[in-house]
């Protein structure tokens, strides 16, 4: 098991030593295999891979205190992508099932430097399906992750042995059918363990790790409260105040791997929800114009590539799963 306290922060070696370290090479080979398997799986399921933009007039609004990076685009303030979400929804105008492996930049708050789970620059395997529900997306993640992990275990036994990763840890995972719990249940369990988890917020990092450490297979947390997540998650009409969304959390204390939801595609609801996040809808003009004209209802998710690699490879920190890691506040190449 790993720990997630700020005290666990280990210094990142210089690029030369990092890239030539056996641990890095094994981690990157595992990552390569995970992505190859994902592409194989998704293409077989009829998905089209798109290349996502990396700058735009607007991106996913910051969350948990992370900041966006501005770039000067011919005199206009553009953003580096923090998530492909808005472009994923728009892409469904071209294809019904899409995926991309998207780079993202989020200037995370400095206190994340020691969590071992945050990178300021990271990649996400993004998937979006027109006409899908939250439950469709949950099932798809489950099958996809099982396929990716199974493929890596089969193809790279020496890498796992070299890393000292006990592949028996994936016995339950490979059976599929991950655990499920609602956010309210997760809050109750954490509070029962003496952890002060707010019922209004996303599970905090320590809380996620606590739940994760007590389980031997990944599990989904569903039905987060409105206000804890982005404006694009659909509110459940049958349970106002709750969102039709989910996180996938790894076993063994590794924490969150993936976030997803059924999306709202209702123009008035999106504008109102943008205001609830304190923003000016004008910023999202191109996106709102598309939504007003009509984008399909959809569901989708994003798997953190470095986080999944860290979990599968059994690494102490997520930066070990990146060739050129960028940790909050650490100036690095």
């Amino acid at each position: 098991m790993t720990t997630d306290g700020p005290t666990a922060f280990a210094p990142i070696p210089d690029p030369g030593r990092h890239l030539t370290a056996p641990t890095t090479r094994s981690a990157l080979r595992i990552q390569h295999q995970l992505l190859s398997a994902a592409r194989e799986f998704l293409r077989e399921q009829g998905f089209t891979e798109l290349l996502p933009p990396i700058i735009g007039p607007v991106t996913d609004p910051g969350s948990r205190g992370s900041k966006q990076v501005d770039v000067d685009f011919y005199g206009h303030r553009y953003k580096l992508m923090t998530s492909a979400i808005l472009y994923k929804q728009a892409s469904l105008l071209a294809f019904d099932k899409i995926f991309c492996i998207a780079p993202n930049v989020r200037l995370e708050p400095l206190e994340t430097a020691g969590t071992n789970r945050h990178l300021a620059e990271f990649h996400q395997l993004d998937v979006e399906v027109a006409g899908a529900t939250r439950d469709d997306a949950v099932r798809l993640v489950e099958e996809l992750v099982v396929h990716m992990v199974d493929s890596a275990l089969r193809e790279l036994p020496k890498e796992f042995a070299g890393l000292g990763r006990d592949t028996g840890a994936f016995t339950e995972l490979l059976k599929g059918s991950f655990g499920r719990m609602r956010h309210a249940e997760a809050v109750a369990e954490l509070q029962g363990l003496g952890h002060p988890q707010s019922p209004d917020a996303e599970l905090d990092w320590a809380g996620e790790a606590l739940l994760s450490a007590q389980r031997d297979r990944p599990f989904f947390v569903t039905d987060y409260p409105k206000g804890s997540r982005g404006f694009y998650d659909r509110e459940d009409p049958e349970q106002p105040g709750l969102l039709r969304n989910f996180d996938l959390i790894a076993a063994e204390g590794y924490g969150e791997l993936c976030s997803g939801s059924q999306r709202t595609n209702d123009y008035a609801e999106i504008v109102t929800r943008i205001r609830e996040t304190g923003e000016n809808p004008q910023k999202y003009r191109w996106y709102l114009d598309l939504v007003r004209e009509g984008v399909p209802g959809s569901a989708g998710f994003g798997i953190g590539v470095e986080r999944l690699t860290r979990y599968v490879a059994g690494l102490d920190a997520v930066w070990q799963a990146a060739a050129f890691p960028k940790v909050a506040g650490v100036v690095s190449p």
């Binding site: 910051g62 409260p225 205001r275 609830e276 996040t277 000016n280 910023k283």
Partner: protein, 424 residues
């Protein structure tokens, strides 16, 4: 011009509008940045003889003073005004007195050296300070080559550099245009703000409005060059016809649910910062304060119609928004939020003590703080605060009480202010 006249009618005002057009809706643009505006006593630019209801209240010491007896027993001697303990808690911060420095935004009057002088002195006094909206989108944050004195970082450093251990704190405001500039995220992740964050002395203030112009966003006057630079972020209107333009912020759209969710978002995204909310003196101010407090705001600030240093259309200070006294009455009747902060022409101990007696935890200094710092950039605000502290001690002691939080509604009286119960 014809010889037509209209005795008894505001003929000259009509004629000025006929000559100048939309510019006449505003104070003369030449006064911008030099004159601190705000409502005049009586609530209008054309005083109608009616007294400000807060000024009209009297502070009414009792004859029998059980709290003085308790203090006497505690001290073993007769207490006097020097035994009044002014230190209090304001929105999660420790303050040396029930006073904070109100938000001063991007307006020219608060820019440059004056903003820095004010920040230094507020820090030295250990008073919480609010840094107003639009400073970052207009003047920059201060890390990318902008003039640091005008930028947010300059004020933050000037304040924190003088701040005694364990005292004070900064509340950084954000409104719509600031959200575009990600002000809170910038501050939350800035190494310069880290000592404040780690010592629990950083708050974020969500601004819903301001006393000087309820229902409108911030307004400033810009020259053509500055207007060209900011045109993509603000509404610009060439009302003055002389090259200078009116720059307007959007006030932001709120419903109870939007407010509730924005506060929830602040708590989720910035768990180590305090949450403050600032309200304009709207007719539903008590309801808005309740929503904010229930959603978890550490402080709710209410700016009375007398509040504000900034540029506003003339009709607003004269005719728009509830007076501070009426805000306090409505908030009191509905059950004031646990940490209510108020502002509006506060400059001496009387209005301050009356506000505290009517349910406020602390009062904000806006025009008074700016004028005091302008009078002496080294120590003007410090000396002003000394005088204010003495006056508050004298008044609180006269009421037979020894802490601002001990004040209550029985300490004030007015024949003309229904809703303030007459007791005793």
């Amino acid at each position: 011009m014809s010889d037509l006249s209209a005795p008894g009618f505001p003929e000259e005002e009509v004629r000025r509008r006929a000559r100048a057009g939309a510019a006449e809706a505003f104070p003369p643009p030449g006064e911008y940045g030099r004159v601190l505006f705000g409502a005049e006593p009586g609530g209008g630019r054309q005083p109608d003889g009616e007294r400000d209801p807060l000024d009209a209240l009297r502070i009414v010491p009792p004859v029998f003073m059980p709290q003085r007896l308790a203090r006497l027993i505690d001290l073993g001697r007769e207490p006097d005004y020097r035994d009044v303990e002014l230190a209090t808690e304001i929105g999660g911060f420790s303050s040396t007195m029930p006073v904070y420095v109100s938000a001063l935004g991007s307006t020219r009057a608060a820019g440059g050296d004056l903003g820095l002088a004010l920040s230094r002195q507020a820090g030295a006094l250990g008073l919480p300070m609010v840094i107003g909206e639009n400073v970052v989108p207009v003047n920059g944050y201060g890390r990318l080559g902008e003039a640091a004195d005008r930028a947010l970082l300059g004020r933050l450093r000037a304040y924190a550099g003088e701040l005694p251990d364990g005292q004070g704190g900064v509340a950084v405001q954000q409104s719509t245009e600031d959200a575009d500039a990600e002000v809170w995220n910038l501050v939350y992740s800035d190494p310069a703000a880290r000592p404040l964050l780690e010592s629990g002395r950083l708050a974020f203030e969500l601004k819903l409005g301001q006393g000087a112009k309820p229902g409108l966003g911030g307004m400033t006057v810009l020259d053509a060059e500055a207007a060209a630079r900011l045109g993509d972020r603000y509404g610009l209107d060439e009302v003055f016809g002389d090259g200078r333009v009116l720059r307007s912020s959007t006030p932001g759209t709120f419903t109870a649910e939007i407010l509730r969710q924005q506060i929830r978002l602040m708590r989720n995204n910035f768990p180590r910062a305090r949450v403050w909310v600032k309200l304009h003196p709207g007719r539903d101010v008590a309801e808005a304060a309740r929503v904010a407090a229930e959603a978890g705001a550490d402080a709710v600030t209410v700016d009375g119609a007398e509040g504000g240093t900034g540029w506003a259309p003339g009709v607003f200070p004269a005719q728009v928004g509830l007076p501070l006294a009426e805000c306090l009455r409505r908030l009191g009747a509905a059950g004031a939020p646990p940490c209510l902060l108020v502002s509006g022409r506060i400059w001496e101990g009387g209005r301050a003590v009356k506000s505290l007696a009517l349910g406020a935890r602390a009062v904000g200094l806006g025009r008074a703080a700016l004028l005091a710092a302008a009078e002496d950039p080294q120590a003007g605000l410090i000396r002003f605060a000394e005088c204010l502290a003495l006056e508050i001690r004298l008044l609180v002691s006269a009421l037979g009480k020894y802490a601002p939080t001990a004040l209550d509604r029985e300490d004030v009286w007015s024949r003309d202010f229904p809703g303030i119960p007459v007791t005793g």
